[in-house]
Amino acid sequence: MHERLSFYIKRNSVIHHLNPLTKLTLVLALILIAFTSPWYWTPHLLVLIAIIPLSFLGKVAPEFFKTALRLILPAAGFLFLMQAFFQPVGETVIFKFYFLDMTQESLMFAFRNATRVIVMVSAFTFLLLTTHPSELMSDLTRRGLPGQFAYVIISTLQILPQMQAKAQTIISAQRSRGLDTESSFIRRMGSLTPLIGPLVFGSLAEVEERAIAIEARGFTSKKVKTSLHEIPDPSSDKLIRWVLIILVIISIALKLWLS
């Protein structure tokens, strides 16, 4: 019941065994290249030859495509339509809709921008599918990310499903006391107090308890902490990261040089 709010899918793949920082670097590199590369077809190519194959390599392809269809494509499609119609560039009108013109140039522009967004969101989806959030955070904390920052992210992911479960129990408890939650809207508005009261009180009490619990384990201590889970970072990972950084630099350099 107390599942974390995360996309993470536990599988045994090459990607899952990569260091989280390597995967984060990969994602950021893909995004930076998609946005800086001077060549028009780069973002499209990145989706086809990098992100989709990577999702297969990470054994998360079915889930990846499901998320893409549900979440990424509608958003990118909307962006595409907006930009195709409202971008005031170009002369070659190919489609007219009342006062809206779709030109060849605005179409090209919209197509690239929509694909850039697809690269950005799908790369992050890929990261979230193959990396456990707490693994990413503990690796980043070990590398110097402030613990408070990691705590905010992790606790948010953890608290939401817990609050959801708690809300469900409260609703059950009040319905057992004859509270009508199924009839008209007005009556349901009236039944909000008995539901929200315990949820807010309970959650506040939990936040305090959580703060005391982590402080009891030396959360704000300045000493270097050891970790129960050692996250491996072999030299192959370091090599991959350097290659990715060099690719990004090349992409940015080309952009500056050509413009």
């Binding site: 708690k166 129990t169 409260i170 059950s172 408890a173 009040q174 319905r175 057992s176 006391r177 004859g178 509270l179 009508d180 939650t181 199924e182 107090t193 008995p194 539901l195 929200i196 009261g197 315990p198 009180f201 309970g202 009490a205």
Partner: protein, 265 residues
Amino acid sequence: MKIQIDNLRFTYPTGLEALRGISLTIEAGEQVAIVGQNGAGKTTLVRHFNGLLQPTVGSVLIGDWDTKKYPVAKLASRVGYVFQNPDEQLFSKDVGTEIRFGPRNLGYSKEKIDGLVKRALALTELSDKTETNPYDLSPTWRKMVALASVIAMDTPIVIFDEPTTGQDAPSITRIAHVIAELRREGKTVITITHDIDFCAENFERVIALSEGQVLLDGAAIDVFGQDEILAQTYVEPPQLTRLGKRLGLKETVRNQEEFLNALKR
């Protein structure tokens, strides 16, 4: 009011089959304890009694009402359910208002509500605390408020989910007193508990669940006698029952009185 459960099966949306074919009849006025390891299906079972959960297969009848045909708010007039954690149901600014909430939902007259609230307060020894905010009370007393708020609904069936967990000795005595009083009024009391001594002292019938099925069902004295079978669901008979057995007493004993009587013989 009679509870009839016929071949009840329940599968959670996650695919977990929590109940695998349970058939039971609980007569009006019976005092039943449900025991079993965590995940045996105890809470899942009792949540079917007031319609919070609906059977995947089979049926649950409360009197002449099929729980599938009545909403929870309606079934609440027949089955009172005290949840494990009082903090998940208390919201009013004082104890009196909190206890009125249930009976008011059931649409009783003002005079009837006044009488029921008074009786519930007296039974749980809360009469001097009606003006207090429930959150200013200690957790043991908040539990009493939760108990009172359900007792005041005057339902023929009352369910307690682990009433004694985290309670001190005086509070457990109060809960036992409440159960005895409900029995005297002819109400059915069903209690989920891990506290076997409490179970032995207050309940005649014990149902042991294991992995969604009824492992043992019968008089407490017979159920506690079968310690090998009980061990399958990680339940140990009460201390005195085990001591009696080690001493080689002929009959199974449940409480001090029975133990001393058996020793005298």
